[in-house]
Symmetry: C2
Subunit: 196 residues, 2 copies
């Protein structure tokens, strides 16, 4: 998860660890917080595996800053990670979806649609399960659990509506490609997106 986030951020431009953490906090915010104890080892790993490489700013004083840039291998790795968004349930997928959405602009339109549809499937199944349980346990559970179930259902329904909106927007964009007004929906070829 943290690897995908790091690679995604480095698609925009080369950065050093400290900067990555701040940008991560800015984009993902209170959802998916990242600590240095996770970030630096991840960078080290990615470098050892050739997904990122260090870049030394020309003649800059460089006060002990390790700036990393995405390699071609890193680009591929990002794509692989993004695609690995499965159908299996779990709260972990909630974060996975959010992180992917934050980097949607670097994905191919088909990839985006795929992610959205798999997300929709997961949410629909979750809703069905919650509904089932609500109707079979209604009499047996206390008011608190009931409220928890109801709220969970409501929240899931709203999530589905939201995803549906995103899917509709994606389909509209696919029909009339619209030449990137303000860059908002600018589509970037997944491996070649160099938006520096």
């Amino acid at each position: 998860m943290i690897e995908m986030a790091v690679l995604g951020l480095l698609k925009e431009r080369a950065m050093h660890g400290y900067e990555l953490k701040k940008r991560l906090a800015d984009t993902l915010g209170p959802l998916f917080p990242v600590s240095y104890g996770a970030l630096y080892p991840a960078l080290k790993r990615l470098k050892a595996e050739g997904a990122v490489e260090e870049v030394f700013p020309k003649a800059e004083v460089r006060r002990r800053k390790n700036v990393y840039r995405l390699t071609a291998e890193g680009q591929r790795r990002f794509d692989r990670l993004v695609e690995s968004f499965g159908e299996r349930e779990g709260v972990s997928d909630d974060n996975g979806f959010r992180v992917r959405l934050a980097f949607f602009r670097y994905m191919k339109p088909e990839t985006r649609l795929g992610v959205l549809e798999r997300r929709r499937t997961v949410l629909t199944e979750r809703l069905a399960e919650l509904k089932d349980r609500l109707s079979s346990y209604r009499e047996r559970v206390d008011a608190y659990t009931l409220s928890l179930m109801r709220h969970g259902m409501d929240a899931t329904e709203r999530d589905i509506d939201w995803v549906d909106d995103l899917i509709r927007a994606e389909r509209r964009a696919a029909r009339k490609p619209r030449r990137s007004r303000k860059g908002a929906m600018a589509s970037a070829s997944s491996t070649g997106g160099d938006a520096s």
Copy 2:
């Protein structure tokens, strides 16, 4: 987390591992899934630490079922875990709150209110941060990130409303104690709740 859930379930009655997992899936559902690889070691640990003890059903054939019962130490431990619901942010607290809510009926009214109010504080801070970020990054982020932020805000606002409802209900119940109609809001002394 899993420890609190196990102890909470055992407050109702003695159970064995397999049963605990099913009941857990029934109550918490797709939120907070539990695997055997987490459950059995947890039971072992709790037993070693004296929070639960094995109970051997009288003369029953007992086809290799390890039934556990909560001890007095386990009761105390549950209370301690419940109270340890802090103000610090993080997605992890989301699960923590849900699990606690599922066992609200075993808590003292003051404990319930405390948990609800700390939850409210966390959510309010999260909302404020999301709002801040939305207003300062509105121009710089793409449509996807914007949508993510907006939906996050919406969801958080609804969560706050929900918690407010729970707080109001709690306050109402505190004013007129209402003699547990149907047992829905039955208040149990936190250490002595033996609802078997």
